[in-house]
Amino acid sequence: MNAMQTPVARHALDAAVLKPRIAATGVQVHYGTNHALKDVNVDILDRTTTAFIGPSGCGKSTFLRCLNRMNDTVASARVTGRILLDGEDIYDKRVDPVQLRAKVGMVFQKPNPFPKSIYDNVAYGPRIHGLTRSRAELDEVVERSLTRAALWNEVKDRLDAPGTGLSGGQQQRLCIARAVATSPEVLLMDEPCSALDPIATAQVEALIDELREHVSIVIVTHSMQQAARVSQRTAFFHLGNLVEYGETTQIFTNPQDPRTESYITGRIG
């Protein structure tokens, strides 16, 4: 438990001044007849890493996918409740999910670079959203994104090489670079390290900590150690309920709910 004290302690100072980026109230999700998420209320703070933990099937990924409306692609999913991004309801009829997803980027469990060149992978988002006016500007965005994803030095000489030819950890960082290239305000990560080895995991975790300077990050993870290492706030989901949400330190050292305590001590989950 000592290892996690430092980042959390550092964050504890900021917490008071940070405003909520996303405010979710009364979110319910049904998949057909299955009530997958029950009345979830969460505030995601600006420039903070928020971890969602909980056993498999607890609804943490479902909730994550509500935040950029990726659940829209699942025909049977029905979402109710309010999710405000900077005060605007993202489930409002006038909101185009395509535009929303440029502001709320996503990194997936399995690294999924496009089978195109490294450059094209990163440039794809800015291109389709028309974020750049010239090739030079696009080059700059690609370089900046790859640098922020801590990948630039490894790939700067082979931007034309296929993205699928990189190692697993590099591919995941490429996906992160691709996600940050559209300058999102929130970055959602769905178990981004579960397919990576420990070294690549450490690189991605270090990256998450740096990215937090610019965006708020929501990460779903199976690893409690990872949640403790990278996050400042933690939400514990169980059977579709948000059981407990608070400062990571508090969740891991002084959980209020007996279910949280059982989970973090390994008795359930």
Partner: protein
């Protein structure tokens, strides 16, 4: 603990050595060996059937690619061919093929006289019968195209009659000629003398690919020209009609369609369409495209429309499989950075599915190329000896198709047509092999792994 020791004791007590297989093990191994044998036998039977089929086709068909020709000098006399002497096409065309036939026949008789080749009991008329009935028409067309030939003496290669061709290929013998009203043994003996004199030779048969079909009396002139053109026209039309419609339908069904009773019904119907007997499509084409829509019968357009109906399900099924094979993670990735559904499909899914779509399309076209039954019903089995015009008007002209030509030649009486029918099968098979190999190469070339 007592349980455990009892168990191990029982185990040790079974007395079964690993070095000698148990009776049960032997039975299992024997069953496996039998199963493998069945598989090998099945493959061998399939290969043997294929080998026999190819052997008979090649045995009967290869000779269609060679053709007997007579070579002799021939004076194109101006008095006969251009009586007015002004070399005007209109005037010259008053000399009919009969006139040219006389010229040919006389030239051959004269050459035989000069060389001193003669056969007892073979009249001058019978000598003339060694020449194909089609040769006069071909010569006339050549002379009308180039009037400067008149008055010269050409060393012409003239198509020999079908029976003479058959004699050189071993199909016609002196014995069979006894019973044949079209040829006498004397004529064959004369042909043998001509062959020894070098006047009668067998060479590569370009006419087989370029000539139109020919009547029963002149199998030696029959060729695949119209059938090849008709098949080519149909393939182009099928490609143009099927690929856009099929790919669009597949994309909609896979990526956009809601999953409900209507789309389920559509899917079931598409699968069922692929299983509808082709003759039914022929009836449908006859009723709708010819009788109702009034399109000209025997035309490649109607043929292509009917075959499109049959090929569409194949292309849709292959395309949907290719689209489904694109991993969902790619769609997630594109949607996750804010690509619209359409951008996701056209930027990512479709390029990745393209090899599968191409393969499916080529295989669909290959089966369309060999489709016969529906074409019979819409009149493409007709005897067509005029080439269809160049496209697009030619799409409405009567034409035949390769497999239909195989069918119509196979039903003619003269064995010379059977030879050509087998030859046409070889041509068809060559095209099918080329298309299948292209499909395999494309798949290899563009295959991606994730």
């Amino acid at each position: 603990m007592t349980d455990l020791s009892a168990q191990t004791g029982a185990f040790a007590g079974s007395g079964q050595s690993l070095l000698t297989p148990s009776a049960r093990m032997k039975r299992r191994n024997a069953a496996e060996a039998r199963f493998r044998l069945y598989g090998v036998v099945a493959i061998l039977i399939a290969l043997a059937t294929l080998a026999i089929m190819l052997f008979t086709i090649l045995r009967d068909g290869v000779s269609a690619f060679a053709q007997a020709r007579l070579t002799f000098p021939m004076e194109l006399s101006a008095e006969v061919l251009d009586p007015k002497g002004n070399r005007l096409r209109d005037e010259m065309s008053k000399v009919t093929t009969i006139g040219y036939a006389k010229v040919l026949s006389a030239a051959l008789v004269a050459e035989l006289d000069r060389r001193g080749i003669a056969e007892e009991g073979v009249s001058e008329k019978q000598i003339g019968e060694l020449i194909s009935k089609d040769a006069a028409g071909q010569l006339r067309a050549e002379v009308l195209a180039d009037p400067a030939m008149i008055g010269t003496t050409i060393n012409a290669e003239i198509l020999a009659a079908g029976r003479i061709d058959g004699y050189l290929k071993g199909r016609v013998t002196l014995d069979s000629a006894e019973l044949d009203s079209n040829i006498t043994p004397g004529q064959l003996r004369l042909a043998e003398q001509l062959r020894q004199a070098g006047m009668l030779t067998t060479g590569w048969n370009w006419g087989f690919f370029t000539n139109p079909d020919a009547s029963d009396q002149r199998p030696e002139a029959a060729g695949l020209g119209v059938a090849l053109l008709g098949s080519a026209y149909m393939m182009v039309l099928v490609l143009v009609m099927c690929v856009p419609v099929g790919v669009a339908a597949s994309i909609w069904l896979e990526e956009f369609a809601p999953k409900n009773r209507w789309t389920d019904a559509i899917e079931v119907n598409i699968s069922n369409l692929a299983a509808v007997p082709s003759i039914v499509f022929g009836i449908l084409g006859l009723a709708i495209f010819i009788n109702f829509a009034g399109l000209p019968q025997s035309s490649s357009l109607v043929g292509a429309l009917v075959i499109s109906l049959m090929t569409l399900p194949t292309i849709i099924i292959a395309t949907r499989a290719a689209i489904r094979a694109v991993p969902p993670s790619i769609r997630d990735a594109a949607l996750g950075i804010g690509a619209s559904k359409m951008q996701t499909v056209f930027h990512h899914v479709l390029p990745l599915a393209m090899p599968g779509i191409l393969t499916g399309t080529i295989l669909g076209l290959a089966s369309a190329l060999g489709e016969t039954a529906p074409l019979l019903l819409i009149g493409m089995v007709a005897f067509v000896d005029n080439y269809p015009a160049p496209p697009p008007e030619g799409f409405l002209d009567p034409a035949t198709a390769l497999p239909v030509q195989v069918y119509s030649w196979a039903s003619r009486a003269d064995p010379a047509f059977i030879e050509r029918s087998n030859g046409a099968i070889i041509v068809l098979l060559v095209f099918l092999v080329i298309m299948n190999v292209a499909a395999i190469l494309l798949r290899r070339r563009f295959e991606r792994r994730w």
